[in-house]
Structures are given as C-alpha cells and as structure tokens.
C-alpha cells in the first residue's frame, strides 16, 4: 500500500491539468487502486485447483500413440470413423439459457443463425449466440471489449496473447472461478472434461484458481515445423534423411531455386528453425541464473545463418517483402518448396487446397535439425493447450454449471456422437458418409468446416483427416520420429501475470522487429546486436530482475 501511495508522484510532478487537480481530494478516498497480483501459481495451490483425471473409454486408434521424453506423446491417429458413433451424454445438457460466445476464427465466418448453429443449439439445449471474430485482428478486438467491460458470457483467449490481454488480471476480476465446480473430484460430474489431460488444465490456472477450459489439448505441443513440398523434393531425389543441419538445408537452396521459372527454395523459416541452432525459446537457466535468448551466442549464429539465406537469392521475393498472407498460395503453387509453419497446417483442408493446385501435392516436414547435424535434436514444447476459454464472472452458479455441461458435450472424444455433431454437423444436411467417412456437403463446408464450437471446449487432439489418409499417416509418422526430441523449456506451462511495463519489456517489439528485418535481409546482424544492447540496458535488465525475483526465486523454473 505504501508503495502505491508513494507512486502518486503525479501531484508533486507539478502537472496542472484542471481535471486532475479537481480529482485530488478523491485520491485519498480511494486508496485501493488496482494492485495487480503478479507472479505464478504455487505448487500446492495448483494441485488443489486442478481437476482429477479420469480416462474415458476412448476408441482404439489405428496409429497408436508413441511416448517420448518429458511427458510428451504423439497424438493418436485414426484412419477410420465409427459407423455408429456412441453417445457420451444423455439428452441435451443445457436448460434453455441464453448466452453469447466470442471465439477467434482464421477463415470464413459462417452466416449468423445458420442451420448448423440452430442444430447445435437444439442438441445443446441452450440458446448460444456464436460471434466468431477475425483471428488476424483478434488481439486488437479483445482489448476493446475488456475496456468497455463488455466481455461475453464465454470467450476464447489464445495463450500466446496472454501478455496482450493481461489474462491473469482479467481472470481475477472478470472471469468465473471454476475451482469449486471442477477441482479434484468435482470434475467427475463432467466425464468428458475429466478426460482432458491434467497438463492442459494447468494453462487455465491463475493465482492458484482454475478459470480456463483448455481446447485442442495435445500431448505433442510441438513448436511447429520446417515444412517442405515432399512431392517436389522427392522428384529431386531429396529425402529427410539427407538433411540434418542448417548447413544441409542451405545447400538445398542452390539446388532447388530456379528463379527464372519463378521457383525459390525458401519462404520464411526463422520462427521454426532458430531453436535448432541450440538457442532457447525465450529463457535458459544457467547455473541458477536466467539467460535471455538475445544474450546467447546460438541466437547470433541463427541470425547470421538467416541473414545469409535472405541475401543468398534462395528466398522468395514476396517472403522477403514480408508478405506472409500469401505464403499458402506460394506453397501450393510450388513457387516455394520449404516454409516454416505451425503444425496445425498439416490437415485435411490444407491437403485439399494443395491438391486443387497440384494433384501430386504432398506436405512433408524436416526432422528437427541440429546445429552440427550430429548431436541429439531438441525441440522445445509449447503450452499443452494454447487455446483456453473462460466464463464471465457475472454468471450465476447454476448458469456456470449449465455452460460446463455444454463444455462437457463439446469435449466428447473422437468418434462419439457428440464429436460427430460438433465437428461434422447433421448427417444428410452438413455431411454425408462417403466410403464410411463423414464428408462435408456444401452446407457443411459453409457453416461447419470453419471451426467455431471447438474453440469453447474440445477433446484431446487426434490426427484424423477423413478422406485424406495420406495426411494422417505422414503427420503421425513425423510426430513419432520427433517425439523424443521434445523438451520442456524453462517456465513451461507456468501461468504468471506480470505488470504492464514488464510485459512490454518481454514483448521487446523493437528487437523483434529488427530481427524480422534481419532475416529478410534488410538489416545486418550487427543492427540486431545494437538493438539488443539498447534493450538490455533498460527494459531487458528490468525484465530479468523481475523474472528472477518474482518467478524464478519464488516458484522455480518449472520443467
């Protein structure tokens, strides 16, 4: 409290805006202010908040899960779809309440009030108004909602934007505390939720209380991959086994680039390749001391490699111009053969788009590379669920229970009746069975294929691409080949909230923008070093001090 009073240097600073002076007497009246509770979860508090795990009687996958190190395992793969999906929930879970939900959507927004929404509302027994918002602008939309205090009843907040949204603080003040409903054995009322992995629930815990429902939980939170056009590389006689190190990768540049035909070997790869140089994702702990990515030698080596790539002529000019939006088009058209990307891209829709452009289309990804091509590959795991949905604190306990019952329906496992409904809609309307697998009708492509409900709650990820078995097989094989490389980075899955200025320091916009310019060949490595040293002397030092004092020293580095 005293520190806050001291921080009111405003009046002594001598500023003289009439309004502020008029407000001065009020200042002493409202001493509380917004004291943010910052820091991470305690291990005992976390344990008390987490739901119990009850494995469900799931289907036996066609491609069994392979376990790796560090609690990681590949997602189970399915090549078939049950002919008669079994129900896991009896009757509509809702009691007729009316709610609104906001989710991010990367793609075409379905028509409001469409046949699928209506069918889902009937199945769910609630009147749920879905408001999917443009995923590319989601991080600017949510803050306006927050400021206006108009958060919907149910909202999805992607974890990678937690610093932007100040999610920890939002949870404390705006979101419903789900601990009494879900912690420990309480979750057993919702068997499908209880079947979600415990690690995924951890991403929804803030200040020792459970707020978030994990979506798309996975035991293979891979960091993404360096993708390639497997069909075209194989026609050059290139296979994964030949590419072990960044040097090997660079050698492909000369062989594959044919600028006269408009073909370049590379699109952007930085985000998915720099950890292969041995650089940490953000932090590493060295003799109990924090070392930031920007301070490491490996980071500079990665930068140097990427700068050479950008200036080598092996990268597509549009990629160098920063046009990420058309990356997919370039890849499908065979204008670029190697491109970094999130693993979510390895799916049926991608396959269909690719085949539409080139019948031989086949996506592949290099195995995790290592700097020297010899040592054990390492890939740092991402959050076990990067999509978390929250309920509004204004909801009454029975409304929360109603929505959790809906969440339980949505989290039904692969192949169940509820899963079929949520992901493929009504048979005969939104999908038909073609060779036994659900295949979208036009109505389904319009309104169901654009993922909406699973952003509120969904079962653990499986690899399933009805009608595109080659995708399922390729992706499962890649996961199996790389699952051993997965390692938890420091502070993995630890939710800590930080003050705004520290969050700004962590975002390190100026450095990150210079990095982008560097791997696009517009700025030199030395420019990045200069930006880093500016950052380090101010923001970076404060960030490290804060992280050390408030997270590392108090809660450890997780792992």
């Amino acid at each position: 409290m005293t520190t806050e009073l001291n921080r009111r240097r405003f009046l002594s600073a001598g500023a003289s805006i009439a309004g502020a002076v008029a407000m001065a007497p009020l200042l002493s009246a409202c001493g509380g202010g917004s004291h943010q509770k910052t820091g991470a979860n305690t291990s005992s508090g976390l344990k008390a908040a987490l739901p119990a795990f009850l494995s469900s009687t799931a289907l036996t996958p066609d491609i069994a899960s392979v376990t790796g190190g560090a609690d990681a395992a590949t997602d189970p793969g399915f090549l078939s779809y049950p002919a008669a999906p079994a129900a896991t929930v009896s009757g509509p879970p809702g009691k007729g309440g009316s709610y609104t939900a906001v989710t991010p959507l990367w793609g075409t927004v379905p028509q409001p009030g469409n046949s699928f929404y209506q069918a889902m509302n009937k199945a769910l027994g609630v009147n749920l108004t879905m408001k999917p918002a443009d995923g590319n602008n989601y991080h600017t939309i949510v803050p306006t909602m927050t400021a206006a205090k108009k958060l919907p009843d149910w909202i999805n907040l992607p974890a990678w934007w937690n610093p932007n949204f100040n999610t920890g603080e939002l949870a404390r003040t705006q979101f419903a505390d789900l601990t009494p409903h879900l912690s420990g054995d309480n979750v057993k009322k919702y068997p499908n939720l209880a079947a979600l992995p415990t690690g995924a629930w951890q991403t929804g815990v803030w200040g020792d209380k459970l707020y978030g429902i994990p979506c798309f939980a996975t035991t293979f939170p891979g960091p993404g991959g360096v993708f390639h056009r497997r069909d075209l590389l194989e026609s050059h006689g290139i296979t994964n086994a030949q590419v072990k190190s960044p040097a090997d990768l660079m050698n492909l540049g000369k062989e594959l680039t044919d600028a006269k035909r408009g073909v370049w070997a590379f699109d952007d790869v930085w985000t998915y390749l720099y950890p292969s140089f041995g650089a940490p994702v953000k932090w590493k702990v060295d003799n109990g001391k924090l070392v930031h990515l920007f301070e490491t030698q490996e980071f500079l080596e990665a930068l140097d490699w990427h700068y050479r790539l950008a200036t080598s002529g092996y990268m597509h000019p549009d990629a160098l111009a920063g046009d990420g939006a058309n990356q997919g088009t370039r890849f499908y058209a065979g204008k670029v053969l190697i491109a970094g990307g999130g693993l979510g891209a390895w799916n049926l829709a991608d396959y269909q788009s690719g085949v539409a452009a080139d019948p031989n289309y086949r996506r592949g990804a290099f195995d995790i590379l290592t700097a020297d091509g010899k040592s054990t590959p390492v890939a740092y795991m991402g959050a076990p669920s990067s999509m978390i949905s929250y309920l509004n604190a204004d909801l009454k306990p029975d409304q929360i229970a109603e929505l959790l019952a809906v969440a339980n329906y949505l989290a039904a496992p692969y192949g169940s009746a509820e899963y079929t409904m949520t992901n493929f809609g009504v048979e005969g309307v939104h999908h038909n069975r073609v060779n036994g697998v659900p295949t979208f009708t036009d109505e389904g492509k319009k309104n169901v294929q654009a993922t909406t409900f699973p952003f509120l709650s969904s079962s653990s990820s499986v690899i399933s691409n009805p009608g595109g078995d080659v995708v399922t097989k390729d992706y499962s094989a890649w996961q199996a080949a790389n699952v051993k490389a997965l390692v938890k980075p420091p502070f993995w899955a630890m939710n800590y909230s930080m003050p705004q200025d520290i969050a700004t320091a962590e975002a390190a916009q100026a450095v990150n923008d210079t990095i982008i310019d560097c791997y696009h060949g517009k700025k030199k490595v030395s420019d990045v070093q200069a930006a880093v040293s500016t950052w380090k002397s101010g923001q970076g030092a404060r960030l490290k001090r804060w992280m050390t004092e408030n997270v590392l020293d108090k809660y450890g580095a997780g792992q």
Partner: protein, 315 residues
C-alpha cells in the same frame, strides 16, 4: 455587413442580463443540443487525458487507477517504436508538403485558364468526386489498380516483365500514400484557390495587358500575389497539422507494408494503446502529439504574421 450586424437590436446601450436572457431564451435553447454533445464527446475526453499520468486499468476505472506521474512519458521517450512512428510522421508530412501542396494550386491555375464554363464545371465536378470516397474505397481502388493482383501487375505479368507490388513495398510507401492523398484530396483542395482567383479584380489584368504585360508577367505580378493570403493560410494549417498525416489510410495498409513503414503517431496510439490494452501509454502519446501540434500551430501562425499575413487568427 454593418447592416447585417445591427439589424436586430439597434440600441447600442447594453441591456441588463435578465432582459437579454428573456429576449434570447430560445436562441440559447437552440444551442443546447450541440453544446451538450460537445461537452460529452469533446470536453469530457479532455479530462480523460489524466489517464496519461496513470497506469490506467480499465477494470477499475479512472478513479481507482494508480498514479504514476510522468512514468508513461518516460517510457514513451525511451521507446524506439515511438520515435520510429514520429520519424515516419514527420517524413510523410514533409513529402506531402513538397509533393501534395503545390498540386491544388497548379490545378486551380490551370482550371481557371479554361475558357469554356461548361468544361470548367465538368472538370470541377469530377475532381471533387474522390474527396467523398471513403478511405476503404479509395484504397480498394488503388489495390485493384496497383496491387499484386491488380491491373498494373496483370499487365506486367502478361508481358513477361517482372511484377512490382508497390502496395506492399515499405521503401516506396511514402510515395504511395502521398499519391493516394493526391488522388483523393488534391481535387477538393482547389476549391479555396479557385475562390481566391475569382476574387482577383479583372481590371488589374486588363490594365496590365494594356501596359504590355504578357501572360507570364501577369501571372507573376497579379495572380500569384492574389493567392498569397490563402496560400499562407493553407500552409499554416498544414504545418499546424504536421503531426496528423491521416489515420484510416495507415490503419488499413499497415498489415500490407508492415508497421515499420506505416506506423504514424495516430496509429501508434491505437496499436500500442488500445489494441495492446496499454491505455495510459497510448493516451500519453496522444497528449504529447496534441501539445506539439498546438505549438506548431502557434509557431506557423507567428511565421505567417512575420510575412505580413493574417494566418489563422490576427495579431
């Protein structure tokens, strides 16, 4: 003019307030809606500027947020992105001043020399039109003409010349936005200059012509001096607005060219203030911009006075 002014109450003596109030009651009543709207949406936000001295937290509101003094400004001045957007703003302002500003004057002179009235009217109507387009529309038109999939590149591709996507090139962005601004606003800009031209006494030209002054001499000695006042005024306004180079235009194109080239002070406030949930930071940037703008306006006006012109207000 004096008749218009004294038309109503001829008596020059001051009436008592009460009598005037009764007399002007309905007039005052008429101004109330506008005054209320301005108080709410223009004056109340002025007091909202105190958030710039806070660490404003929307969850607790302006009354309960912590005061941080000048911390926001300190952070702002240490932020390379802020200086980047400042640099962009000033640079674009200069480019626009040099490339945009003379065009409406030249167009007005040119149009004024067209003899056929019908032709003049037609040209004027066409030139004013883009002013009424929204930025979304104007930029969509630009995209369809010059963009990667637009007409220009369509032509280049068909003729085997490499493509040139000027809409996403950060290096030429200053030229791009200036040409957009010229396309949309230069036509409208001629309206004041045309009025000033029409106010020049025709007899002056006649007399000069009689004295043997040619076309160019007449322009130099009569037309241009006649435009001087309004040119100075527009210049004052432009300089006073040097930090406002447009907002929607940059907001829409930011993703295409990247923030490095497209962030100006106004978009900085939006992206690093509202969109990042860092309201006080954005408010501080806004306040800084307003203060500098007022200074610039004042300075430009002083400059106009020094040249013996009225500027925005007289001495």
């Amino acid at each position: 003019m004096s008749t218009a002014r004294s038309e109503r109450r001829a008596s020059p003596t001051r009436l008592s307030r009460r009598i005037r109030l009764r007399r002007d009651k309905s007039l005052l009543l008429m101004t109330i809606p506008a005054v209320v709207l301005l108080l709410v949406f223009n004056y109340a936000p002025l007091f909202g500027l105190v958030t710039a001295f806070q660490s404003y937290d929307p969850l607790v509101g302006v009354w309960h947020s912590d005061w941080v003094g000048l911390d926001q400004f300190q952070a702002l001045f240490g932020d390379p992105l802020f200086w980047e957007s400042m640099k962009n703003t000033l640079y674009l302002s200069c480019v626009q001043l040099v490339l945009f500003f003379p065009i409406p004057i030249a167009l007005a002179l040119l149009l004024n020399s067209v003899l056929s009235e019908r032709m003049r009217n037609f040209i004027q109507s066409v030139l004013y039109l883009p002013h009424f387009f929204s930025w979304v529309l104007a930029l969509t038109i630009f995209q369809q003409m010059l963009g990667g999939a637009g007409l220009l590149n369509q032509f280049l591709r068909q003729h085997g010349i490499g493509t040139w996507d000027i809409m996403t090139d950060p290096h030429t962005f200053a030229l791009l936005v200036t040409s957009q601004a010229i396309w949309k606003e230069a036509g409208w800009g001629i309206i004041v200059f045309l009025a000033a031209l029409s106010a020049i006494n025709t007899e002056l030209y006649e007399a000069a012509a009689a004295d043997g002054a040619g076309r160019w001499r007449r322009m130099w000695h009569i037309t241009l001096p006649g435009l001087r006042g309004v040119v100075m005024l527009m210049l004052v306004l432009r300089l006073g607005n040097a930090l406002s180079v447009g907002f929607e235009q940059f907001l829409i194109q930011r993703t295409a060219v990247g923030h490095d080239a497209a962030d100006v002070l106004d978009t900085f406030s939006f992206y690093y203030g509202i969109a990042a949930g860092n309201y006080s930071y954005g408010a501080a940037a806004g306040l800084f911009k307003s203060l500098v703008s007022l200074l610039l306006l004042w300075g430009a006006n002083r400059l106009a006075h020094a040249f013996g012109e009225d500027g925005l207000y007289r001495k």
